[in-house]
């Protein structure tokens, strides 16, 4: 039971950290895709959504290549004494990569719905681009961003394929809910697996429910 408690605590903490990690790049990407036109935009959109459609194990392998000691990122970090693969940090990164597409895809329509004229009025009142973004654009898109963050969090919570490849299943170190369910079921510990399933369902249900409530039919009411 102590292990189950530990797994639930670690997974929730890692998913929260992953959500924070994806927030800035996710919001930035959503804004860029909503507001900017540039060559190759369709390609960027496709790459952002890629983790949704390719096998998560494949995403995990790509991360392993990137973050491993001989990988382009891992090689830079090794002299600094930072190792990622098979650490809790690897769990957080895998979760963030898998959750990011949901955040971007949910936040983007939020930015598209913000009436540009509110921003223009703010400009005529003397506000610079950052002030306009922080005081007008961001608050008016906040519901979508929050809903997207919750979906990203839910996705992170249930992440299995990428996590097991890049972080493994080290009890007390990198074992998450999803990986734990698999390990317990594999070894015949059905009660433990069932408890983890119940915990996953409870947290995931709550997060998706709140996310949906944030995006009602009048989500574009600030038009």
């Amino acid at each position: 039971m102590i292990e189950i408690h530990e797994i639930a605590r670690f997974t929730t903490a890692a998913a929260l950290a992953a959500t924070l990690l994806m927030l800035v790049p996710g919001v930035a990407l959503a804004w860029v895709l909503a507001r900017r036109r540039f060559p190759g935009k369709a390609v960027v959109e496709a790459i952002v959504s890629l983790p949704l459609v390719i096998p998560p194990v494949a995403t995990g392998l790509v991360l392993l290549w990137l973050l491993g000691r001989r990988g382009p990122v891992g090689r830079l970090l090794e002299p600094l004494g930072i190792e990622i693969v098979f650490t809790p940090l690897a769990v957080v990164i895998a979760m963030a990569v898998m959750g990011l597409p949901l955040l971007v895809r949910t936040a983007r329509p939020g930015f598209e719905q913000v009436t540009r004229r509110y921003e223009q009025i703010a400009e005529t009142l003397g506000a610079g681009p950052w002030r306009v973004f922080a005081t007008i654009t961001l608050p008016l898109a906040a519901r979508n961003i929050l809903a997207g963050a919750l979906l990203g969090f839910s996705r992170a919570l249930g992440e299995f394929g990428a996590t097991i490849v890049v972080a493994g299943s080290i009890p007390g170190r990198t074992r998450t809910l999803a990986v734990g369910i698999y390990s317990f079921a594999e070894t015949g510990q059905d009660t433990a697996a069932a408890i983890l399933v119940a915990i996953s369902v409870a947290i995931g249900f709550g997060a998706v429910l709140i996310s949906n409530l944030l995006l009602p039919a009048d989500a574009g009411s600030y038009k």
């Binding site: 004229r117 009025i121 400009e123 005529t124 003397g126």
Partner: protein
């Protein structure tokens, strides 16, 4: 007296606006039916639309000049623009809206403005709860607190109950004469144009069809 140099061509889609007027007045009415180009002119003055060529200046300060490649950003134009749909920020209360663009120095003091536009009872209200006239007063206050060289009002009385209109008109005249803020007033109502503006430009389908003292040419 303010001077308005409005000499420009602006085409967008199938619509073309041509204007070539230099006017001295405390307040200028842009008069005409919908689709005549009135709003396009104030949006060009606010920097929200860019003419293909020409020149826009207020009191000699050039805001746009295609010959010298001047195009002052909306942020730097010092125009107080109140669009027809007002566009109070929906996620802020009235006070936060009114204070949004407040500029120290040059701007009208808030107590004076609050008195003139009867703002005090509105300050803590939610934007969604305001009537048409209350919205208009809050938006005019917001524009004036940014210390504008000119106030651009697009159909300011369109959504205001008839009994409230006179009080807003009276406030506008005091803004014009006591605070010395020149006004450009877009309307399709003759009485409003005559009440607020000394000079009127009459537009139809993107062209100026008359320009002169409001009381004379709108009779």
């Amino acid at each position: 007296m303010a001077t308005f140099d409005l000499v420009f061509t602006l085409r967008q889609g199938g619509f073309a606006l041509e204007i070539a007027n230099a006017i001295s007045a405390r307040a200028l009415a842009l008069f005409g039916p919908s689709g005549s180009g009135k709003t396009t002119i104030v949006e060009a003055m606010a920097g929200l639309r860019t003419p293909q060529r020409g020149r826009i200046a207020v009191n000699g300060r050039v805001l746009f000049d295609s010959d010298t490649h001047v195009n002052v950003s909306p942020r730097e134009r010092r125009v107080g623009y109140v669009p027809q749909d007002v566009l109070l920020f929906p996620h802020m209360d009235v006070r936060a809206n009114v204070l949004y663009g407040r500029r120290n120095g040059g701007a009208v003091p808030l107590p004076r403005l609050a008195d003139l536009l009867e703002l005090e009872p509105l300050m803590t209200r939610d934007v969604a709860s305001l009537s048409g006239g209350e919205r208009q007063r809050a938006a005019i206050a917001r524009a004036l607190l940014s210390g504008p060289d000119v106030l651009l009002l697009d159909e300011p009385l369109a959504a205001v109950d008839v009994p409230r209109r006179q009080r807003i008109t009276a406030a506008l005249l005091r803004i014009r004469d006591e605070l010395n803020v020149p006004i450009v007033y877009v309307t399709h109502a003759i009485d409003e144009a005559i009440a607020v503006a000394e000079h009127a430009i009459v537009l139809d389908a993107g062209r100026v069809v008359a320009s002169g003292p409001a009381a004379e040419i709108l009779k």
